[in-house]
């Protein structure tokens, strides 16, 4: 059974996208959502908070989603935190790089609520 009251961190430098993901999460009953507008802000929040899931964009400046993922996996306290990448980067080398960095799942934009729900359940089901 997935605990939908867990705190979820969504990371995107585009505030409209943050708003869309927050609303879609709300539709699938994840209401405890925190936002970060780039990788640096995200890592600071992750180190001080207690998040059960990270959903991040890749294409951000100055710290990209891939670099954030690498930092998370290198942090002894955060390394097992489920991490889903939601991105428009859909090349094979991107998926491989993300997988090698330890991504839990990968959603390509544009996506729908059903895909988001399915990937979250798959990722959290493995925790």
């Amino acid at each position: 059974m997935i605990d939908k009251s867990m705190q979820v961190l969504i990371v995107d430098d585009y505030k409209t996208m943050l708003r869309i993901i927050r609303n879609l999460l709300k539709q699938i009953e994840f209401h405890n959502v925190e936002e970060a507008s780039d990788g640096s802000e995200a890592i600071a929040k992750l180190r001080t908070g207690n998040f059960g899931l990270v959903i991040s964009d890749w294409n951000m400046m100055p710290m990209t989603g891939l670099q954030l993922l690498q930092e998370v996996r290198a942090d002894s306290r955060l390394k097992t935190t489920p991490f889903i990448m939601i991105t428009a980067e859909s090349k094979t080398e991107n998926v491989i790089a993300a997988k090698q960095a330890g991504v839990s799942n990968y959603i390509v934009k544009p996506f729908n609520a059903e895909t988001l729900r399915e990937k979250i359940e798959k990722v959290l089901g493995h925790v």
Partner: protein, 210 residues
């Protein structure tokens, strides 16, 4: 029609007709002939002719490029195009925010109606939220177009500099740009739908690691 005989033979004929008057001319022409024949072969002369023609072509091209006012590309055309693209992003972002706000109001109203209309409302707003992510994709595509425009600008600048035309980069354009992330080569933005991997392709690729 030119005389087909060698010049030396022709000079000898002139000398035979006018032995007193042509000595000086003959001597001068002989010196010229020795200079030309000794230093420039027929092939070299042909090459020189081609080089001269090429020079005229380049000069004509330079004149034509100057007449095109290529400075306009950086001074007005490309800045205008990028400003227009920025305006498109701003307008669509504003419209998307308004749509999202309206959707959030509808979501808030689901508690005031029965379960069936609430589910219908929820289903409709979910589809609207999903559709609104177009804004992010179009923004990234427009960024790629702006990058292509900058590339065109720099290539045109390189050509015109090579041709010796006047060229000044627009003051608002900087070659340094923002800091480049370590995984820059992986930042390609949205792929064209005809070649992009879909979610199912990505799922299969990820599953191949398990």
């Amino acid at each position: 029609m030119s005389d087909p005989r060698p010049l030396a033979e022709r000079l000898a004929a002139v000398h035979a007709r006018h032995p007193g008057a042509t000595d000086a001319i003959t001597e001068a022409l002989r010196e010229v002939m020795e200079t030309v024949v000794g230093k420039v072969s027929a092939t070299e002369a042909a090459l020189l002719g081609e080089v001269e023609a090429l020079g005229r072509t380049i000069a004509a091209a330079k004149a034509e490029i100057s007449a095109l006012h290529v400075d306009d590309i950086t001074a007005s055309h490309i800045p205008f195009a990028t400003d227009e693209l920025d305006a498109i992003v701003a307008h669509t972002a504003s419209a998307t925010e308004a749509i999202l706000e309206a959707c959030e109001s509808l979501d808030g109203a689901t508690g005031q109606v029965g379960p069936e209309p609430a589910a219908t409302l929820l289903n409709a707003t979910t589809r609207i939220y999903e559709a609104c992510s177009f804004q992010d994709i179009t923004g990234q595509r427009i960024t790629k177009v702006v990058g292509a425009l900058k590339e065109i600008e720099s290539k045109v600048a390189a050509i015109t500099v090579r041709f010796g035309c006047q060229w000044h980069l627009h003051p608002d354009w900087h070659t340094d740009g923002p800091p480049v992330p370590a995984d820059e080569t992986l930042l390609n933005g949205p792929q064209h739908p005809t070649v992009a991997m879909g979610q199912s392709d990505i799922d299969k690729l990820l599953a191949s690691f398990d």
